[in-house]
C-alpha cells in the first residue's frame, strides 16, 4: 500500500556522434507494482539542435505507482535513435537505469551503448548506417544474458526526476 510518484522530464541527450535524435522510453516494474496514473512508455520528438550538440527533448514523465512489495523497483529503459535527413532511423543506443529510491530531486545521467557487429558490418555501418539491434530488448533487463554482447559506448541521456514516496516508512522501509 505504499505509493511512489515519479515526476520529471527527459531533458535531452549528449555525446552522440550525430544530433538529430529521438528517444523511446519506458518504465519496467515487477509484479507487485501497479500503475495508478500516467503513461509508462512513450517516444519523444526528434530534436535537431541549431547550436551546440545537446539534443533537448524536455519530455515529461509523470507516474503514480502503488506497490505491495519492494521487488521489481521501477527501471527506466531508453532507446536513442537517430533520424537522418532522408527520414531513415538508426539505433544509437540502449540505456537502462533504476528510478532513484530516495525522495527528492535527482539528476540522472544514463549512459547508452550500442551493439557492435563483425568488422564487415561495422564498415557497412560507417557508410550506409544501420547496424545490429537487439531482437527483444526486454531480455536485457535482468542482465543475465548480457555477457554475450559486444557493444560500443555511445552518449548519455540526461534526466531530472523528482521522487515522492508515501507510506514507505509505515512499513519500516528506510529510504
Amino acid at each position: 500500500m505504499a505509493e511512489l510518484h515519479i515526476i520529471g522530464q527527459i531533458v535531452g541527450a549528449t555525446g552522440f556522434p550525430q544530433s538529430s535524435l529521438f528517444c523511446k522510453w519506458g518504465v519496467h516494474t515487477g509484479g507487485a507494482w501497479r500503475l495508478l496514473s500516467g503513461l509508462k512508455e512513450g517516444q519523444t520528438q526528434v530534436d535537431v539542435p541549431q547550436t551546440g550538440e545537446v539534443a533537448y527533448w524536455s519530455h515529461p514523465i509523470d507516474l503514480h505507482y502503488a506497490t505491495k512489495g519492494l521487488h521489481g523497483w521501477p527501471k527506466l529503459h531508453f532507446q536513442v535513435w537517430h533520424q537522418d535527413s532522408f527520414g531513415r532511423c538508426q539505433l544509437y543506443g540502449y540505456g537502462y537505469c533504476h528510478v532513484p529510491s530516495s525522495p527528492g530531486h535527482h539528476r540522472i545521467h544514463c549512459v547508452t551503448w550500442r551493439p557492435l557487429g563483425s568488422w564487415q558490418e561495422q564498415l557497412a555501418q560507417m557508410f550506409v548506417g544501420g547496424g545490429p539491434q537487439l531482437r527483444s530488448p526486454d531480455l536485457v533487463y535482468s542482465g543475465a544474458d548480457r555477457y554475450r554482447l559486444h557493444t560500443e559506448a555511445m552518449g548519455t541521456v540526461e534526466l531530472e526526476l523528482g521522487i515522492v514516496m508515501r507510506h514507505f516508512d509505515k512499513y519500516g522501509v528506510e529510504s
Binding site: A66, K68, V111, Y141, G143, A144, R146, T151, M154
Partner: protein, 446 residues
C-alpha cells in the same frame, strides 16, 4: 458642459466556474441633450447647497425616449423595432429560427408588448452575429485596410464553432495544409458563444431603421469559464460615449453594470461540502485500488534491498572491457536461493571522452539479503556485504586480460550514490539501497 468620458473600451476577461446562464447585466443608455446636461448641473448645485436650505428645484428629469435601463440575462433575445416589424410578417421567415422569432413576436404583440425600447440583443444564433464588426464604439469614416483584415479574421474565428479542443491522437501533423487552414490555425481557437447588446439610437420617433443600430456591449464566453466583456463594466466610473453618425450627431452615455446575484452562504457551504465529499470518495477509490497489504519480512530479520547500476569504466588501458562482479555475504547474512550473487556485464568498446577512454555498461542489478543477529551482546555492529569487481579486457584474438580489481562496501545509509576509485581506474556505480526493519524490539541495531 464638459463631462468626463471613459475612453478605455478594451475588453475585460473574467473567469468564473459558475454557469454562464446566471449572468445578469444591466445596461443604461442615456442621451446627452442640453436639458439633461442642465438638469445634471442643477442637481449638483442643489446637492451642494442642501445644508443652506436653499430653494429646492424640481429636477428636469429627462423622460421617455432619451434614456433606458434594462437588465438582461445570457442569450436573452430582445427584439428591436426593426426585428419586430420584420418577424411579424410570416413570409420573411426562412429558417426555423426565424419562425420561432415569428411566434415569439406574435405572442409579445398579443401580450403587453416588449419590455425593451431601444436596447435589444443579438444572440448566438442570429444571422447577424458573425457579420458585425466589433469596433463600433468610436465613429470612424471608413475602415482602414488593416481593420478590414482584422474583421475578416474575427469573422473566421467566430465561424469555427465546432472546433474540438482535444487533438486526435493520430494525424497530429497535417502534411498538406491549405492556405485557409494555415491562416486559421495560427492562434489557439476556443469556440466562443457570443452575445451582442445593441442600441437603436435613432432620433425619437424614428426607431426601426437598420442604419441607426449601434453595438453597445459584446459578451463572449467559451465553455470553460472565461467570460470576455467588451467594453468592461463601468459602474461607478465614467460612462462610455457613443456618437451617432448621420445627419444629427447625438451623444449617448452608456453604463454597463454586472448585477449577477451572489451565492447565498448556505449554498456556498453546501457546494463546498459536496466537493469535499467528492474528493474524499475519490481518495477512497484510489486507496481501494492500492490495497492495504505490503510484503513484510519475518520479525527480527533485517532485510536489505539494493538496486544499482554499473555505469561506466574510465581510464583503463585497453579496449573492449567487461566487468565481472560478485557479492560476498559475511556471517549472519543470508539470501534467497534463487538470488544470483554475481554477474557479468557485456563487453564494451571504449570511446574517448575528454582525455580518457570510457566504456559504458548501464547494467542494472538488484540484490536482496537478510540479516539475522543471533547474539545481541557480541557483534552489535553488523558486518556489511561487499561487492568485488574485476575488470577484464578482451582483445581481437579472444584473449582475456585482467585490468584491475576493486571492491565496494554496501552502504549502511540508504539511498546513496557512490563511486569507486582505485589508482586512477574509476568504476562508477550507482547504488540505491534501502533497508527494511520489521517492527520489533530487536530492530534497534540501526
Amino acid at each position: 458642459m464638459a463631462d468626463s468620458w471613459n475612453t478605455d473600451t478594451g475588453e475585460a476577461v473574467y473567469r468564473s466556474r459558475d454557469a454562464v446562464k446566471n449572468l445578469r447585466i444591466r445596461v443604461r443608455l442615456e442621451r446627452v441633450t442640453s436639458t439633461s446636461a442642465l438638469s445634471k448641473h442643477l442637481q449638483q448645485q442643489v446637492l451642494s447647497q442642501q445644508d443652506r436650505g436653499a430653494i429646492e428645484l424640481e429636477t428636469l428629469t429627462s423622460q421617455g425616449d432619451n434614456e433606458e435601463e434594462l437588465v438582461m440575462g445570457w442569450q436573452e433575445k430582445l427584439f428591436s423595432q426593426y426585428e419586430m416589424e420584420l418577424f411579424q410578417n410570416e413570409a420573411a421567415c426562412q429558417t426555423p429560427l426565424d419562425r420561432q422569432y415569428h411566434t415569439e413576436v406574435k405572442a409579445l404583440n398579443k401580450a403587453k408588448g416588449r419590455r425593451n425600447h431601444r436596447i435589444f440583443t443579438y444572440t448566438d444564433h442570429d444571422r447577424y452575429t458573425s457579420c458585425l464588426p466589433l469596433q463600433q464604439l468610436s465613429a470612424c469614416s471608413s475602415p482602414t485596410f488593416l481593420a478590414e483584415r482584422m474583421a475578416s479574421v474575427r469573422h473566421r474565428r467566430q465561424d469555427r464553432r465546432t472546433m474540438d479542443c482535444s487533438v486526435p491522437k493520430s494525424k497530429i501533423v497535417n502534411w498538406e495544409p491549405t492556405a485557409e487552414f494555415v491562416k486559421s490555425s495560427h492562434v489557439v481557437n476556443n469556440a466562443m458563444q457570443t452575445m451582442h447588446i445593441m442600441g437603436d439610437l435613432a432620433p425619437p420617433g424614428r426607431l426601426g431603421q437598420k442604419e441607426n443600430e449601434y453595438l453597445l456591449v459584446t459578451i463572449k464566453t467559451d465553455g470553460s469559464g472565461t467570460v470576455i466583456v467588451k467594453p468592461d463594466f463601468n459602474k461607478g466610473k465614467e460612462p462610455y460615449r457613443i456618437v451617432t453618425t448621420g445627419e444629427k450627431r447625438d451623444v449617448w452615455r452608456l453604463t454597463v453594470e454586472n448585477v449577477c446575484t451572489t451565492m447565498q452562504p448556505e449554498e456556498k457551504e453546501r457546494e463546498q461540502n459536496m466537493y469535499k465529499d467528492l474528493y474524499v470518495r475519490h481518495k477512497e477509490y484510489l486507496n481501494s485500488l492500492v490495497g492495504q497489504d505490503f510484503e513484510m519480512p519475518p520479525i527480527g530479520i533485517l532485510r536489505y534491498m539494493m538496486n544499482g547500476e554499473i555505469v561506466s569504466a574510465k581510464g583503463f588501458e585497453y579496449d573492449n572491457l567487461y566487468i565481472h562482479f560478485f557479492m560476498e555475504l559475511p556471517n549472519n547474512w543470508s539470501s534467497l536461493p534463487f538470488q544470483s550473487l554475481s554477474g557479468v556485464t557485456q563487453t564494451c568498446r571504449t570511446k574517448t571522452l575528454g582525455k580518457e577512454s570510457v566504456a559504458f555498461f548501464s547494467y542494472p542489478f538488484s540484490f536482496e539479503a537478510f540479516y539475522m543477529s543471533e547474539k545481541e551482546s557480541e557483534e552489535s555492529i553488523p558486518q556489511w556485504p561487499v561487492i568485488y569487481f574485476k575488470v577484464l579486457s578482451l582483445d581481437s584474438w579472444q584473449r582475456f586480460r585482467t585490468e584491475g580489481y576493486g571492491y565496494l562496501l554496501f552502504p549502511a545509509m540508504p539511498g546513496m550514490l557512490c563511486t569507486l576509485q582505485r589508482d586512477g581506474l574509476l568504476i562508477h556505480c550507482a547504488l540505491h539501497a534501502w533497508v527494511r526493519i520489521p517492527s520489533s524490539s530487536q530492530s534497534t541495531l540501526l
